[in-house]
């Protein structure tokens, strides 16, 4: 019994270590990102409940993402907004191919350097979107813009950041 508690604690510890990847996986599947925290919580609870079935030494992230994947699909099955979601077939394919994209370490430092190069208003918009979890419509209303501008600006900001990170990585390697 004691071993079981220890094992569960170990699995929970792994979850904590990998939480940003698991969260990342969920975010990637949830348009708008509204129920991400709930799904992450459910994943955590299931992982705790099923800790016994996790074998030490095997790939924890893969196991956890499988559980998160199950939670996501379960959520979609209940969801009322089906029309605004990708079809199951595509979702399954995407998730099949997810693993390889969650192996690298996130380049947070590079991202921060690149964020510094954006204009303050764009940085503020990203903060509203990601730190506060605002919907683009709310950001738009707050800033006195059209929602479309916000969507376009967010897209453009991400593209700029990707490009900047890519350049920084190149520069760093040289």
């Amino acid at each position: 019994m004691k071993d079981e508690i220890k094992h569960t604690a170990h699995v929970q510890g792994l979850f904590v270590k990998e939480v940003s990847r698991i969260r990342g996986f969920i975010i990637s599947m949830m348009p708008g990102g509204s129920e991400v925290d709930d799904l992450l919580q459910e994943t955590f609870l299931t992982i705790t409940a099923k800790a016994g079935s996790f074998e030490k030494g095997t790939n924890f992230t893969a196991w956890a993402i499988t559980i998160a994947r199950f939670k996501v699909m379960e959520h979609f099955a209940k969801s009322k907004k089906r029309g605004l979601l990708l079809g199951d077939e595509v979702l399954e394919r995407l998730m099949d191919e997810a693993q390889e994209h969650f192996s690298e370490n996130p380049q947070v430092d590079l991202l921060k350097r690149c964020l510094g190069k954006l204009s303050p208003s764009v940085r503020q918009m990203l903060a509203q979107r990601y730190a506060r979890g605002w919907k683009p419509e709310k950001i738009a209303a707050e800033a006195g813009w059209g929602a479309n501008s916000v969507y376009v600006s967010l897209s453009r900001a991400r593209t700029t950041l990707r490009e900047c990170i890519r350049r920084q990585m190149k520069g760093g390697a040289a």
């Binding site: 929970q12 510890g13 904590v16 939480v19 940003s20 969260r23 990342g24 975010i27 990637s28 348009p31 708008g32 990102g33 509204s34 925290d37 919580q41 955590f44 705790t48 029309g83 605004l84 990708l86 079809g87 077939e89 595509v90 394919r93 995407l94 191919e97 994209h101 996130p106 947070v108 991202l111 964020l115 510094g116 204009s119 303050p120 208003s121 940085r123 503020q124 918009m125 903060a127 990601y130 730190a131 506060r132 979890g133 683009p136 209303a141 006195g144 813009w145 059209g146 929602a147 501008s149 969507y151 376009v152 600006s153 967010l154 897209s155 453009r156 991400r158 593209t159 990707r162 990170i165």
Partner: protein, 710 residues
């Protein structure tokens, strides 16, 4: 939308069912598309990760409430984690409770919910409560929207207009309240609680503690500490005022069934100009608003005459009248209108023109060229889809001493393929608005950006004697006109007009003034939705690159003076995704540069009024959009002229004047030459030109091959 945009919008939760279906199709069939999906998710997740992390987030804007407590979690030791685990789910980001909408902004296109609203110094907004009460706000300000009939002003300055039926609108202040009985009034509350209320029309009650001040007619009340003084008279100019929208016909939508055709305008009000009429539905074109729209038909007031290549209308507006309606002098005007045309064919002209100018008096031939002290112009091309309307907008600062504003709208020939005249087979304008504003963002904001690594260090108001400092960006944002008080020194810093998304900015460089940017860069219109105008009447000198229109900004550079650049002047940019509008109008001015490049989207150069352009390299079309060079009256000289690169569409219109080229290079893109009048001289033998330009009407003069219409 591109695949990348579809994915991004999907992740932001903003893709409609149709878009989702498109994306589904992409992702189903292509592994590469799915790879793109995950690539975008990488940055999406990285941002989420970075912003959720609170420690060391010095680059981020302050965030009052983190979304979750995860970061704390991560940094905690395992034992603590397990203890916390049971409870942390409870601590969730509390979203603002669903509150009802109480007001709108931007002509109803945006909704504002109950709650706090604050503006920084220099910022301004205008909101309309659902009751119809309009409030102009000027920062620094903090307020709360309480309900449709009530707001709280904690500090700041407002101007309020209460229409009939909305009486009783109440503004709470820290020490009392102002109740309105149908009027216009201004109210300012200082951070120390001092208050000033002025009524311009009608009646308000100002309640301070137990005392009620009934203010009627023109009165002002000042409250500071225990002193309360009520005096006759009021001055609207110290308050922001809700903008005034001029409405013609029914909502400016041209529903009145009559022709406006006549000659140039002589009196205030009413449209006059060339032959136009009001049409209902015309082929596939349906009026944008109401059941009528303006149709441009001829280039003269008579049906059988042709005077110019533009079918246009003018209207004179008396700014004194506007000032009366508004309660104070308007400081800025915005013209917005929608245009459309029938499908037509390759010959169908698609250009529309708009102009705003200010005049001291009404003269015999009052048009946008006479007695002008300030003006802006823009043009816009309709697409070949009659199902969509294209929007034009234009802003002008209104100088205080000029009484008359002249508006010009018109359809213009842009495919010079004949001698008969423009093909106005169905050219329409509808939904025209003219919006006057005052007291909104009263001055120009200037931000300094230091060095390449730098952060935004400070922002300051522009003043005439404040000179931009070394190695800094001068960002001109806001409707104020930055007047260059005196010659600015070399290395003045980068000049950016309208930097941020949806910002507006304008620069007017008066005659006899020189602005020298040294080796710094200049940018007119930098970001999505920005609207930037520069009018160079004096002299602008640059040694660095100069950009007009980037990232979907709408930018206009009007040159009636001199512009000398030893480097590149670029209109629009490579990889422009949507609709950057970049325009350079050389109207009697002269431009000299190392290179002038028209890259993408709607980039165009118009030379008229005897203007000149002299460059080593002239590039027409560089990416995938449309680039147009029109010479109406003037001279353009280029050592190397590169025509249509990439998949660009290059259009060269000669309506008069002279184009002189030493060496002509032909790219692989599409190219259209409209030689209507004027001449093209190329210092190349005919044999080398045979594949590039059409064979017709050319002759040889010494080393030059000359193309002309005669």
């Amino acid at each position: 939308m591109t695949l990348e945009n579809l994915i991004q919008r999907y992740l932001d939760g903003g893709l409609d069912a149709e878009g989702v279906a498109d994306l589904d199709k992409f992702l189903r069939h292509s592994e590469d598309a799915r790879k793109s999906y995950w690539k975008i998710c990488e940055i999406h997740c990285l941002l989420d990760h970075a912003f959720a992390e609170r420690s060391g987030a010095d680059w981020a804007v302050p965030v009052e409430q983190p979304k979750s407590v995860l970061p704390v979690w991560i940094s905690g030791v395992l034992a603590a984690v397990i203890a916390v685990a049971a409870t942390w789910w409870v601590i969730q980001w509390q979203d603002v409770p669903t509150s009802s909408v109480v007001a709108t902004a931007k002509g109803g296109s945006e909704v504002i919910e109950r709650g706090l609203l604050s503006l920084a110094a220099g910022e301004a907004r205008e909101i309309t409560f659902l009751t119809g009460v309009r409030v102009a706000l000027e920062g620094p300000l903090e307020m709360e929207l309480v309900s449709r009939e009530r707001m709280k002003l904690l500090y700041g300055k407002i101007g309020v207009e209460v229409p009939k039926g909305a009486e009783g609108f109440t503004v709470e202040t820290p020490d009392g309240e102002v109740i309105d009985y149908g009027t216009r009034f201004g109210l300012s509350v200082g951070r120390e609680g001092d208050l000033r209320a002025e009524v311009f029309e009608g009646r308000i009650d100002v309640v301070i503690g137990k005392k009620v001040h009934r203010m009627e007619g023109q009165k002002s009340l000042e409250v500071s500490g225990h002193t309360q003084s009520l005096t006759p008279g009021s001055d609207a100019s110290s308050f922001p005022m809700p903008s005034v929208k001029e409405i013609w016909g029914v909502g400016g939508s041209f529903n009145t069934p009559k022709s406006y055709a006549s000659n140039r305008p002589k009196i205030v009000g009413g449209w006059s100009g060339d032959l136009v009429s009001i049409a209902g539905r015309y082929e596939d074109v349906v009026p944008r608003r109401g059941n009528g729209m303006l149709q441009f038909q001829g280039t003269s007031a008579q049906a059988d005459m042709r005077s110019t290549t533009v079918s246009q209308l003018w209207r004179i507006v008396d700014l004194y009248e506007v000032a009366k309606k508004m309660g104070r002098r308007p400081e800025r005007v915005t013209l917005s209108a929608w245009v459309n045309s029938v499908t037509g064919n390759a010959q169908t002209d698609r250009a529309f023109r708009f102009g705003l100018s200010c005049h001291e008096e009404i003269t015999e031939a009052l048009d946008e060229d006479s007695a002008v002290t300030t003006k802006v112009k823009t043009s816009l091309f309709s697409d070949s889809d009659p199902g969509t309307w294209e929007r034009a907008d234009l802003q002008l600062q209104l100088p205080s001493k000029l009484r008359y504003l002249v508006i010009m709208v018109g359809a213009s020939e842009d495919v010079f393929d004949d001698t008969e005249g423009p093909e106005f087979e169905g050219h329409f304008l509808d939904d025209l608005d003219l919006i006057f504003k005052a007291g909104m963002r009263p001055s120009v904001d200037i931000h300094y950006w230091r060095g390449s690594e730098g952060a935004w260090e400070n922002s300051a108001k522009w003043s005439e004697n404040r000179q931009p400092s070394w190695d800094s960006y001068v960002v001109i944002q806001g409707p104020g006109t930055a007047r260059i008080g005196e010659t600015v020194n070399q290395n003045a810093g980068h000049l950016v007009i309208a930097l941020d998304n949806d910002s507006e900015g304008s620069l007017y460089l008066p005659p006899n003034k020189t602005l020298n940017l040294g080796s710094s860069e200049g940018i007119v219109g930098h970001n999505q939705g920005a609207v930037a105008h520069a009018h160079i009447s004096g002299e602008l000198r640059t040694g660095g690159r100069f950009y007009v229109g980037r990232n979907n900004a709408r930018s206009t550079l009007l040159l009636t003076g001199t512009f000398i650049s030893s480097d590149l002047i670029q209109l629009s940019q490579y990889d422009s995704t949507e609709d950057t509008v970049a325009e350079l109008m050389v109207e009697g001015g002269s431009l000299q540069a190392g290179a002038l490049r028209l890259i993408n989207d709607q980039s165009s150069v118009v030379v008229n009024g005897g203007g000149t352009i002299k460059v080593d390299e002239l590039r027409l079309g560089g990416d995938n959009g449309e680039a147009t060079l029109t010479i109406e009256d003037g001279e353009v000289y280029a050592k190397d002229f590169i025509l249509g690169e990439g998949v660009a569409k290059a259009r060269l219109n000669l309506q008069g004047g002279l184009l002189k080229i030493e060496k002509l290079h032909r790219g692989e893109g599409e190219f259209q030459l409209n030689l209507f009048k004027g001449e093209i001289w190329i210092k190349m033998p005919v044999s080398e030109l045979a594949d590039i330009l059409p064979n017709s009407s050319r002759s040889t003069r010494g080393e030059w091959t000359v193309y002309s219409t005669y």
